[in-house]
Amino acid sequence: MQKKTKLITMSNAINEALHFSMKKDKNLLCFGLGTTDPKGIFSTTINLEKKFGKDRVFDVPASENALTGISVGLSLEKIRSVVSHQRLDFFLLAMDQLVNNAAKWYFTFSQPVPITIRLIIGRGWGQGPTHSQNLHSWFAHIPGLKVVIPSNPRDAKDLLISSIFDPNPVIFIEHRWLHEMEGNINKKTEIKKLDNLGKCKIIEKGNKLTIVASSYLVHEARIALRYLKKFKIDCELIDLRVIKPLDWKTIEKSVKKTGNLLVLDTGSDTLSFASEIISSISIRLFQYLKNPPVKLTMPDIPEPASYGLTKGFYIRPKNIAEKIIKILNIKDGNILKLIQKEPNPHDIPGSWFKGPF
């Protein structure tokens, strides 16, 4: 019997989602700096121009703000678009068009604005303070936007298609360290089976503690959990996938069951998305909590560039495991003896990453 799934990298999954969507919607446009260059935005936009033509797939001037407004203008004439940015940090130039127009147009003028904005987050290998910012909570703060952060190829493909066909502006955040990560996806895409944006996924089932994570930290959490399983510590791991709108039901159900909550966030601490989840859960489910909820976020410090300064900077499975043990009040000092502190070199996702960005 033929297999229904196939192994694929996340960047190829994104490429497949774009091909699928452009075929399905004959008006859909795909543009952004580097879209048609030989590298095709980390291989995610490869062959789109060849297949769908220069009118629908094109490179652009480096004008993040205008391009965002242009995609809004296109949507008012019923043309959807996917606009890609190789780093989220450059997209900060587009806050006016995003916040004042894209997010508000439907509320003010009752006209839908179906646009998808792909933002890529860097990390390590010298990306430094302005090529590595995890600002998903900024976007989630704005009424009118949807925010998607996939952690694996299957979700990347399914959620990107769902984002494109959603009638609202969607911020789609890709972690650069996930682009070459492999995972199984369905060979055939059935659009009717894709969920509307706004569902979390339980990745691991468990009873002792609920871990809420997203993006790259889902994988770090999995490593930690796999390790702790040997000591019969079973936690539930929830991958947020979409942080706005958020699937509170799934998180609440899990916390009611476990009574413990640890939230991981790739963003910096103050007013982080982790803070939002912890405050809301504390307000709603105070009586269910056995211990104070805990967050593990990046510090309120810009990411430094130097190999020396990024040593020990990131959240690793060991940090996660330490928090879990502390929350659960496990006194056995030997448990964490064998968990790796940090891979060497620590500043790349794997040997595939040869820089520069």
């Binding site: 001037p61 004008s63 703000n65 242009i70 809004v72 203008g73 130039l93 147009w105 003010t108």
Partner: protein, 323 residues
């Protein structure tokens, strides 16, 4: 200029003026509870442009948009209801005076942040071009927008892609109270600078309907022929304060001579003078005025009678639903 055009332009100018004067006169009552930027003194450009565009040509504008909306044919009652904050306002009472829209006549929207609707207009123009339509897009903005990055990003894109855009800069020399001399180099002519970007440009007296007519007629024809965007700079002047119903020249922020010069060039008064001088008494002006006055008064009554929205706003009002 043909007689019919002149009549129509005069009617447009008079109608906008009367609406704006009435808003100013009644603003103190506190029923129009939103920041309102009146177009008094700046009615001529959109009133003339109306002669050359159709409903399928789309226009966007900024915070001072009443004249642009009305000249494009935007529904007067819906505009007033919006300013009064009523549920049947053109933006359902969610936007106020600075957020006008009437898609039925091709007014695609006005927004409140300086230069903010320029990229939207360029996006609409790209859609028109991709769909191989002959329609053009009009983007209204002021001299302040020239100081925003969005303007340069957008016009560059429009030139690059040869988009059918008419960039209309109404230069009234002030950004709120700040004169051009504090904002741009002294010898700069905005249109000349824009020419340097590679866009065909022109400039003209924005208070003189005859001059505007001539320039716009040629520009619209050229844009419609698919040769790309054109930038027009129109010198004009607002009579009242930046925002609100009052005169504010007691604050002495505008030179007395300039003020005198521009008030003498009032587009309504000078056009009426010209009409009389040329003995072009083409119609019973008094009757026509009365018709407009009745219509406007009726619209104010309608806005006052209309209801405030009273529902609770939920996510359904913020996010569009999938079909």
């Amino acid at each position: 200029m043909k007689k019919n055009s002149l009549i129509s332009i005069w009617k447009n100018i008079f109608r906008i003026r009367y609406v704006e004067e009435k808003i100013a006169k009644e603003y103190y009552k506190g029923e129009m509870r939103c920041p309102t930027h009146l177009s008094i003194g700046q009615e001529a450009v959109p009133s003339v442009l109306d002669q050359f565009i159709q409903k399928t040509d789309l226009a966007v504008s900024g915070h001072r948009a009443h004249a642009h909306y009305l000249a494009k044919g935007g529904d007067l009652k819906k505009m007033l209801c919006e300013i009064f904050g009523k549920e049947n306002g053109c933006a359902k009472g969610r936007g106020g005076s600075m957020h006008l829209i009437d898609r039925s006549v091709g007014f695609a929207g006005s927004t409140a942040i300086v230069a903010n609707s320029i990229p939207i207009g360029v996006g609409i123009a790209l859609a028109k071009k991709l769909k191989k339509k002959k329609d053009i897009v009009i983007i209204y903005f002021g001299d302040g927008a020239i100081e925003e990055g969005a303007f340069y990003e957008s016009i560059n894109f429009a030139i690059l892609k040869k988009l059918p855009v008419f960039f209309i800069c109404e230069n009234n020399f002030y950004s709120v109270y700040t004169p051009l001399k504090y904002r741009q180099p002294k010898d700069r002519k905005i249109h000349k600078m824009v020419k340097g970007l590679g866009c065909p440009v022109f400039s003209t007296d924005g208070n003189d309907p005859f001059k505007i007519y001539e320039k716009i007629s040629a520009a619209v024809k050229k844009i419609r022929s698919g040769k790309g965007p054109i930038f027009g700079e129109f010198y004009t002047y607002r009579h009242r304060e930046h925002c609100g119903p009052n005169f504010d020249d007691n604050l002495n922020y505008r030179p007395k001579n300039d003020l005198k010069y521009w008030l003498e060039k009032d587009p309504l008064i000078s056009l009426e003078k010209k009409i009389k001088k040329k003995k072009m008494i083409f119609l019973n002006m008094k009757n026509e005025k009365q018709k407009i006055i009745n219509e406007v008064n009726e619209a104010f009554k309608f806005a006052r009678k209309s209801k405030y929205p009273s529902y609770k706003i939920t996510t359904r009002d913020i996010y569009a639903k999938k079909n």
